[in-house]
Subunit: 244 residues, 2 copies
């Protein structure tokens, strides 16, 4: 079983990397800036963590780097499951709280505005399939689920909120739908694990709230990811033997 | 000399495909939906046209499909020059008119809002390098130049316009910066060729204007691309012998 995490920021992945003792494989994706960390957990389970890497002096975030990293990861590592693990904004009105960790039971874009209820509008929203074991995993681990909604900006404009509300978005991130889009093209199942750093419907300034809560949200994210991997090792949830 | 066009929509590429008689190579990028058309123009020049392909029943447009197609094209075709050819919105106030074709002398994103004048803000805007032969080519062919500004939506919100104006954006498209971002990671030069289908500062409804002018803008795009290829075959403009 080959489990591959795709993560935007090193800060989001660091507790997880430390916990599992995964080791960097230098220049694996060269000339791409993406980074690979790898560990064999047991005879049956190989764990990869792929980071977007850096450009312009900062960790690459957002949809384009997520596409590049996911495509490279799938091509080079041939995973049975891609896990997009990261932080997100939540809505207090929908029950979110800081450092609460969700599994994504759906995923869409909220900032690709193309008019029409036809195939163009459908494509723009995305609404990609998530791994069909997501619901069972959430039940076994007693984790909340929510629909991930992705955009390339940290803020949320009125036009974003309108699309989010019209389409049931609950967890606002900057990568999920891009990772899911690439997975959809390669027919690789995707699991979304999202930890809340900020509340979109609070009065706090988003960037400040994000920075204040990043470490705590990433620690919780690590704790949940450890439980997820343990559950996958024990039960497989249909991932082994190409049961997906 | 290996010249590779990356184009979003078949309608944008069709006149060009017809003109050069490039032939489809079926399933070249499988399982990706991207399509490859190929022709050898002479002993020294190979021409590729890569389309994003379809999903959800429509041609894939926007930044994520552009990333996927560009990455696959560079990996599989190893081009000396990527040309992102397509349609765009222009500004009458900046001299644009329907079916006028520009070369991009810069390229940025206008819908990745991350606060700060630091490395995060720099990364969000992008501002990737374009091919250093762009200016000389524009002079030889007497073509106008302008800064391409990319977003994932057909419309333009006030927040988009603000970023466009603050950063000198002139040609509003949905793929250019994504193609340029991937090229920047692989250190492949990129030329942007953009034909105006709609005027962002007119009162016309964008989608209607786009559909009305798509055929004419794509014909003009083809005419300019033919001249570009002819000029590259004659002068090379530094592309041959790895002079870039």
């Amino acid at each position: 079983m080959n489990i591959t995490f795709v993560v935007a920021m090193l800060d989001e992945a660091q507790p997880f990397i430390d916990n599992f003792g995964v080791r960097e494989v230098p220049d694996f994706f060269s000339p791409l800036p993406c980074k690979l960390y790898r560990a064999r957990l047991d005879a049956e389970t190989e764990l990869h963590v792929v980071l977007n890497g850096q450009q312009h002096g900062s960790d690459l975030v957002g949809c384009e780097p997520a596409c590049v990293a996911t495509q490279a990861a799938i091509q080079r590592l041939n995973p049975d499951l891609v896990i997009n693990s990261g932080t997100c904004g939540g809505f207090r009105s929908k029950g979110a709280d800081i450092a609460r960790v969700y599994l994504g039971n759906g995923v869409m874009f909220h900032d690709r505005r193309v008019p029409g209820d036809d195939e163009w509008g459908t494509q723009a929203l995305g609404n990609y399939d998530v791994w069909n074991g997501t619901g069972a995993l959430a039940e076994r681990l007693n984790l909340p689920v929510g629909k991930v909604t992705t955009g390339s900006s940290l803020d949320m404009q009125p036009c974003d909120l309108q699309i989010i509300n019209e389409n049931g978005g609950e967890l606002k991130d900057m990568e999920g739908a891009a990772v899911a889009f690439v997975c959809s093209l390669y027919h690789v199942p995707i699991l979304l694990v999202k930890s809340v750093t900020d509340l979109c419907d609070s009065s706090a300034e988003t960037f400040e709230e994000f920075r204040r809560n990043l470490a705590r949200a990433s620690e919780e994210l690590c704790r949940v990811n450890v439980r997820i991997i343990e559950e996958l090792r024990v039960s497989g949830l249909g991932l082994r033997d190409n049961e997906v």
